[in-house]
Amino acid sequence: MEKVFRNRMATAVMLTPALAVYTFVMIIPIMWSVTYTFQSGNAISGFEFVGFDNWIKFFQDDTAIDALMFTLRYAVVMTVLQVAAGYGLALMYIFFLQNKSPLVRTIIFFPVILPTVAVALMFSRIFEAAPTEGPINTILQWLGGDLTDFLGTPGTAFWIVILMDVWRSMGFYAVLLYAGLVDIPQDVMESARIDGAARWKLVRRIVLPLSLPVLLSALIFSINGTLKVFDSIVALTNGGPGTSTTPLTLYMFRTSFAYGQYGYGSTVAFVLTILCLLVTIFIFRSMRRDVTE
C-alpha cells in the first residue's frame, strides 16, 4: 500500500481524472465568475471592464446590505433552532422511546424528503388570510384575535419561513444526532445513574460533552446549508413582501437574470462565497480548540 502511495506516478495517474473534472466543473467557473466581478454586462449585450465599480456599488447598495443581514440572521436563527430541535428529539429517542423509536423517527424524518415547493404551498395555505382563511387564522379569530396577513408583513413572514424550514429539517438533524448519541457507551451512563444522577444532570454532564463532536459537525452542516438558502424562500414568499425576506442567493439570482447585470450578480455571489469561507474557518478553528482539550 505504502509502495503505491510513494510512487508518485501512480498517485498522479489515479488522481488526474477526478482532479481534471473538479478543475473544469468547479475551479474554472469560480475563477471565471471572479473575473466577471470586474466587468459589467450580460450574455446578450457583451461585457466591458469596470474595475472596482461593482464592489463599491455593493457596499453602497441598501438592498444588498439588507440581503446580507437577512442571510446572517436567517442562518443563525435556523442553525440554533434546527440543531436544538434535532438534539431535543434525539434525546427523546434515547431516553423515552429506546427500542420503539424507528416508527417515530421515520414519521418525524418524513418532511425531509418532501419537495420544498409542496411544503411551501401547504404552509402558505395554512397561514392564508385571503381570499379564504387558513386554519391558523380561523383558530386565531376563534380565540379572539384579528385576521392577520402572516405572509404579507415582513416580521411574521420571517418567522413563517423559519417555522417551515425547521419543521422540514428537524427530522434529519434528529437522526444525525441520534446516531452520535447512540455511540455513547452504556456503562458510563449506567454508572452515572447508579451514582444518583437525575436525567437532566445526566444530559448536562455526560451526554452533552461526549456528543460534542457530532454536535459540532451538525452545526457546520447546518450553517453551510442555511447560508445558501434559496428554494424555500422563493417557494414561500419569493423574497417578499418587497425585499424583506430576500437572502443574498435570491438577490444574486435576480440581479443576474432578471436585471441582466451579470457583473454585479457575480459580485454578490463572491461576497456570499467569502462569507461562507469565513464562517467555515471560524468554526473549524474553534473545533480544533475543543479537540485538543
Partner: protein
C-alpha cells in the same frame, strides 16, 4: 526533508502558474464575448434567410397564456395546413413568473424558438433587437407580401414601446385597460358609474359600507396596483409624464408624482382592496371577480377570454360592465386617452429563419386575427377579414372602444429598466395593503430605476 521542501515549493509554483493561467484565460474570453459583435440591427432580417427548409415550426409561450398556442393549433389544421405540410407545429410552455430570465438564458445559447412570446420588459426587448436576435418583421412582411396585416394603431403602439422604427413583434393581443365592474353589485349598493376620481372614491366608500369589497387587485403580482398609479399620473400630468421620468427630465419623487401614489395608497389604507391583497395572485383575483367577490376589477381586455368562458364566469357575461379610468379633476390628461398595449406580443428569432418559417409567418399574419377572435374572443392587432356572427357584447364593446380611442397611453413601468420594473411590481402589494406610503413607494422605484 530537503526533498520534501523542494517538491512542496515546486507544487506551489505549479499551482500558482495554473491559477494565473486560468485567470488570464477567463479574462481573455470575457473580453471576446463583447467583441463578437452581432451585425447591425435591422439588417439581419434580409441577410439571414439563407436556409430554405425547417424540420418543424417551434413555438415557446407562457403557461398563463393558452390562447396563442390554441390559435396556432387551429391554424395548423385549418388555414395554415399548407405551411404545416413538412413543417409541423411544435409548442412548448413554461411558467411566466421567470419568463425574462428564461428568455435571456435561451438567447445567450442561441436556443430561441422560431416563434416565442416576447420579453415582458420592453428594455429587455430593446436589448434583443440591438443584438440582432429578433427578426425585423417590417422587412419580412415586405418580402412575403403581407404588408398591412397589422393594424396601424397596434403597429404604432409596438414601435413606441420598443422605441424602434421597424416592427419587431406581432400583436397577438391588442388590449385596452379599464375598470370592469359587477353590474349586479353596483345595483345592490345603489351606485352609478363614476367619471371622475372623486366620484370613484365615493363609490368605493359606499360599496365598502354596504359590505361589498370595492376593488379586486392581485397585490402579489403587483402590476394591477401600479397600473392604477400610472393611470392616475397620466390623468393628472398628461400622457408624456412617465416618458419624462425615463428621459430624466422629471423624477418619481417630485411632489405631483407622489400625489398619485398617495391617492392609491389612500385606497389601500382604507381597506378598499380587501383583506391581505398582497397575497392574492392573478388567477385568484380573476376567480374572485368572476365569482362575485368584489365590485371593480381593473384589468385589460385580454381577460375577455376568461369573461366569455362560461365555466369560469359564474356571475354571467351580462353582469359585467366596463368604464374607463376616470379623469382627475384639473388634470392635464383626458378620459379619452385609453391605456392600450399589445400584451406580451410574439417575436420571431432571426437565427433560424428559413423560407418554411416565412410561409408560416405569412399565414399567421393573414389569418391569426380572424381565428383568435372567432375561437377565443381575443381582440388582436391584426387586420380582420371577417367578423364572427355570434360575437359577445363585451368583445364588440372593446372593439368599439379601440376604434373610438382618441389617443393611447402605455403603463407605469413601460419605460423603466428591468430593475425598476421588478422593484415596482414587488412593492405594489405594499401599496394595496397600506403598509407602504406613496412617497416610500416612489422613492424605492426611482432608486431602482437608476435615479
Amino acid at each position: 526533508m530537503i526533498s520534501n521542501r523542494l517538491t512542496g515549493r515546486r507544487a506551489l509554483s505549479a499551482v500558482a502558474l495554473a491559477g494565473a493561467g486560468i485567470l488570464t484565460l477567463a479574462a481573455c474570453s470575457g473580453g471576446d464575448d463583447g467583441d463578437a459583435d452581432p451585425t447591425a440591427s435591422g439588417d439581419t432580417g434580409s441577410e439571414e434567410s439563407t436556409g430554405t427548409t425547417s424540420e418543424e415550426f417551434t413555438y415557446l409561450g407562457q403557461t398563463q397564456n393558452t390562447t396563442i398556442a390554441a390559435t396556432l393549433e387551429s391554424l395548423e389544421v385549418g388555414a395554415c395546413s399548407a405551411a404545416a405540410d413538412g413543417t409541423p407545429l411544435s409548442t412548448d410552455a413554461i411558467d411566466g413568473t421567470t419568463w425574462d430570465q428564461q428568455l435571456q438564458v435561451l438567447a445567450g445559447n442561441d436556443a430561441l424558438s422560431n416563434m416565442s412570446m416576447a420579453a415582458g420588459t420592453p428594455s429587455l426587448m430593446k436589448e434583443f433587437v440591438d443584438a440582432g436576435l429578433v427578426l425585423n418583421l417590417s422587412e419580412a412582411f415586405a418580402e412575403l407580401g403581407v404588408e398591412g396585416a397589422v393594424l396601424p394603431a397596434a403597429e404604432a403602439t409596438l414601435k413606441q414601446l420598443h422605441q424602434t422604427d421597424d416592427l419587431y413583434a406581432l400583436p397577438t393581443e391588442y388590449n385596452i385597460e379599464g375598470f370592469w365592474y359587477n353590474e349586479d353589485l353596483f345595483a345592490e349598493a345603489g351606485v352609478d358609474v363614476p367619471t371622475t376620481w372623486t366620484e370613484l372614491v365615493d363609490v368605493a366608500a359606499t360599496l365598502n359600507d354596504a359590505g361589498i369589497q370595492p376593488f379586486i387587485a392581485a397585490g402579489s403580482d403587483g402590476w394591477p396596483v401600479t397600473r392604477l398609479v400610472g393611470n392616475h399620473i397620466f390623468r393628472s400630468l398628461g400622457a408624456d409624464a412617465l416618458q419624462a421620468v425615463a428621459d430624466g427630465e422629471a423624477s418619481l419623487t417630485d411632489a405631483d408624482y407622489v400625489a398619485s401614489a398617495d391617492a392609491i395608497a389612500a385606497l389601500g389604507d382604507a381597506g378598499y382592496f380587501g383583506a391581505a391583497p398582497g397575497s392574492i395572485d392573478y388567477n385568484t383575483a380573476m376567480n374572485q371577480f368572476l365569482t362575485g367577490g368584489g365590485a371593480m376589477f381593473y384589468m385589460g381586455s385580454w381577460a375577455l377570454g376568461n369573461f366569455n368562458d362560461e365555466e369560469q364566469n359564474q356571475i354571467g357575461a351580462d353582469a359585467i360592465g366596463y368604464f374607463p379610468f376616470p379623469e382627475v379633476e384639473g388634470g392635464a390628461g383626458s378620459i379619452d386617452e385609453t391605456p392600450a398595449n399589445a400584451g406580451i406580443p410574439v417575436m420571431f428569432s432571426a437565427s433560424h429563419y428559413t423560407d418554411d418559417i416565412g410561409e408560416w409567418l405569412a399565414c399567421i399574419a393573414e389569418n391569426y386575427g380572424d381565428v383568435a377572435l372567432a375561437e377565443s374572443g381575443q381582440v388582436t392587432g391584426f387586420a380582420l377579414s371577417e367578423t364572427p356572427a355570434d360575437q359577445s357584447e363585451l368583445t364588440t364593446m372593446v372593439q368599439d372602444q379601440i376604434a373610438n380611442a382618441a389617443g393611447s397611453v402605455l403603463w407605469f413601468e413601460a419605460a423603466f429598466s428591468a430593475e425598476g420594473t421588478t422593484v415596482s411590481q414587488t412593492n405594489g402589494g405594499g401599496l394595496a395593503n397600506g403598509s407602504l406610503s406613496g412617497a416610500e413607494f416612489m422613492e424605492l422605484v426611482q432608486a431602482a430605476n437608476g435615479g
